[in-house]
């Protein structure tokens, strides 16, 4: 197990390293680093000074190690739009995105589980077919379009919910949260629902498949043979077995929820990291772009690592397979 952990950790470190190379090459080799790293407003003298300061006259591999060294110290460059460290900018925006992603995950579970349960218990009923058809739409429709439709219906036509922005927040544990104020909650609902659409569909499908598989199990029939009430059979014997894979997958999907919040945040003008990166791409604020990508890649690798390790702890078969490979 320790050997596995260490090897897996080294693999992750390698991936991080590979990503820094890709990002470095992306910024320094494919694009024009001067255009990328120096504000376009700078004059000739400033440019030359910056080129020397950034070491752009050095050979490429030397530049890479400088970049890597700075990155290791948490220095991912300064935004030339805000003139602040890029990392700090992103960390400031992170709580908003995390809140949105968490809310979306909660939505996915509280909507997806019951719907999947219904569709799984009565697979031939008309409402089950409707649920499944909707979940196919949830998979195939572009998120941004659904977001627009939500705004059109609930904000413009019905006027029930505010269309964009984050609204008021309240502080908790030193971070600003929307869900702590009633009004903030109203701002949160639509973006969170929009972001969770894909995940709701996923949870519905997983739950349905799980239910259909589980109800055929002998232990469910045995539970019924014991004279338990149908509710006890469904909510204890069936649901508890499904919960494990569903929760695992939802947790696994958290990273991609954060990545896809780019789209949702742009539609709903939600002030998170996703909106920041899109705005930064518009104005070519490349240090922020690089910092965002580094952070999110790092997050992904940590997430994947955690899930892999958890899996190998839970499932001895995975462990064995990996040892052979």
């Amino acid at each position: 197990m320790t050997v596995y952990l260490i090897r897996r950790l080294m693999q992750s470190a390698l991936v991080v390293l590979a990503m820094t190379v890709i990002l470095f090459l992306g910024v320094y080799a494919i694009g024009d680093p001067i255009e990328i790293l120096i504000s376009p407003d700078a004059d000739q003298i400033e440019r030359e000074r910056a080129i020397a300061a950034l070491g752009l006259d050095r050979p490429l591999w030397e530049q890479y190690f400088t970049f890597l060294g700075n990155a290791l110290q948490g220095d991912l460059g300064r935004s030339f739009v805000f003139n602040e460290p890029a990392l700090k900018l992103i960390l400031q925006k992170m709580p908003a995105t995390l809140e949105l992603a968490l809310a979306a995950t909660v939505f996915a579970i509280i909507l997806g589980l019951p719907l999947g349960l219904i569709a799984g218990l009565k697979p031939d009923a008309i409402y089950s077919r409707v649920i499944m058809a909707t979940s196919i739409l949830g998979f195939s429709l572009p998120t941004f379009w659904v977001g627009l439709m939500l705004i059109m219906v609930f904000a413009v036509q019905l006027g029930w919910l505010p269309s964009t922005g984050r609204g008021p927040t309240a502080e908790f544990l030193g971070v600003q949260w929307s869900f702590l104020t009633t009004d903030g909650l109203r701002y949160l609902i639509m973006p969170a629902l929009n972001l969770s659409l894909f995940k709701i569909s996923l949870v519905i499908r997983l739950t349905r498949a799980g239910v259909r598989e589980t109800v055929l199990m002998d232990y469910v029939k045995f539970a019924r043979a014991k004279g338990l009430s149908p509710n006890r059979v469904i909510f204890v014997h069936v649901l508890k077995n499904i919960l494990i894979p569903v929760v695992t997958v939802t947790a696994l999907e958290f990273g991609s929820t954060i990545a896809f919040s780019v789209v949702t945040e742009s539609i709903f003008a939600w002030p998170g990291m996703g909106k920041l990166i899109i705005d930064s791409i518009y104005v070519l604020d490349r240090p922020v772009i690089v910092a965002y990508l580094m952070i999110i890649v790092f997050m992904f690798i940590i997430l994947n690592f955690t899930v892999d390790v958890l899996y190998s702890v839970l499932d001895p078969r995975v462990r064995l397979q990996d040892q052979k490979a």
């Binding site: 002998d218 232990y219 019924r224 043979a225 014991k226 004279g227 338990l228 009430s229 014997h237």
Partner: protein
């Protein structure tokens, strides 16, 4: 004969209405089990013996349902009961033990949860009282250190231990009838023997009636009082265990007995029943065993009825092996 049987099944029909057609999984099955008696329900897989058990429990899932007949449990027709009335009987008055002990206990719930919920499903007692009963049941089936075992998860038990737990669960409410669906098939032979012995003992002690479903004649031989042999959804032969095993009347029963390996026939090739169990979906008219039967004749193109050529013996055949009895 004066006493009312614990269970009496009359002309039971359980059909599965599939897209490909109606599958008559149980067709015109009748038998009864008296108080404290043990019935062996014998047949190949797919002969309808398990479905018969589930029909009594009211646990036939769509597209299947009980399409006809009566299931009289102490005089009450179970087929006519509502789902809630049936639930009150399941687990309390009629209990069931399943084939594969590795699959019957829920893997994510502790043993105590699975036992206590069974107690509470039928009796309004405190949880402490329910736990006490669960513990007593474990002791009764011979599980050592029951307190520890109660807190364990199923995967911490061996197959034989799990089947003991399942039996303990079945015994929790001291049911009048236990339906055991091949409960020893998945176990080692030594464990099989122990379980058989204990179930027999428990039934004799408490006067519980038992329906033991199996494909294994040798299991039934030492256990049951009566035997019903099923073939292709129907009972083809019925009688006391000694009579049927010593003097089988139906060619199929004879074939079954012939294919059991024994010391007496060592060195000789085992007798086999040629052919395969027919598909229930398009069963040809007439006797279902016809195609595999050495005695089949023109007459067998007509469906044979259950007849009683001898006292206390019933058989569904035009050409029963009466000569063996005479000899």
């Amino acid at each position: 004969m004066s006493e009312q049987p614990t269970i009496e099944v009359r002309n039971l029909r359980t059909h599965f209405f599939t897209k490909a057609g109606v599958v008559k999984a149980v067709d015109d099955v009748s038998f009864s089990v008296g108080k404290g008696r043990i019935l062996g329900l014998v047949g190949e897989s797919g002969s309808g013996k398990s479905v018969t058990g589930f029909s009594i429990m009211g646990l036939v899932d769509p597209p299947g349902r009980v399409a006809g007949g009566e299931i009289l449990f102490q005089g009450r027709d179970l087929a006519k009961l509502s789902e809630e009335e049936m639930r009150k009987i399941r687990g309390a008055r009629i209990a069931m033990i399943f084939q594969d002990p590795m699959m019957t206990l829920n893997p994510v719930l502790r043993i105590d949860t699975q036992m206590i919920e069974t107690v509470l499903a039928h009796d309004k007692v405190s949880e402490a009282e329910a736990r006490k009963r669960a513990r007593a049941a474990l002791v009764q089936v011979g599980i050592p250190s029951p307190d520890e075992r109660l807190k364990a998860y199923p995967h911490q038990f061996s197959g034989g231990m799990r089947q003991r737990v399942a039996i303990a669960i079945a015994l929790l409410h001291k049911p009048e009838l236990i339906i055991a669906d091949e409960p020893t098939t998945a176990l080692d032979v030594t464990i099989q023997g122990q379980i058989l012995f204990e179930v027999q003992k428990l039934c004799r002690e408490s006067g519980t009636s038992l329906i033991w479903i199996t494909h294994d004649l040798s299991v039934v031989a030492g256990l049951a009082d009566e035997i019903c042999v099923m073939y292709a959804s129907r009972i083809v032969e019925k009688g006391t265990v000694d009579e049927v095993l010593d003097h089988p009347l139906h060619p199929y029963t004879r074939g079954l007995i012939g294919s059991v390996p024994s010391r007496n026939v060592r060195g000789r090739p085992l007798a086999q029943i040629p052919g395969m169990t027919p598909s229930l979906l398009n069963l040809p008219p007439g006797c279902a065993f016809r195609a595999r039967c050495p005695r089949a004749s023109e007459a067998c193109l007509v469906e044979p009825e259950m007849t009683a050529p001898l006292p206390n013996r019933e058989v569904r055949c035009f050409h029963p092996h009466l000569e063996t009895v005479a000899a």
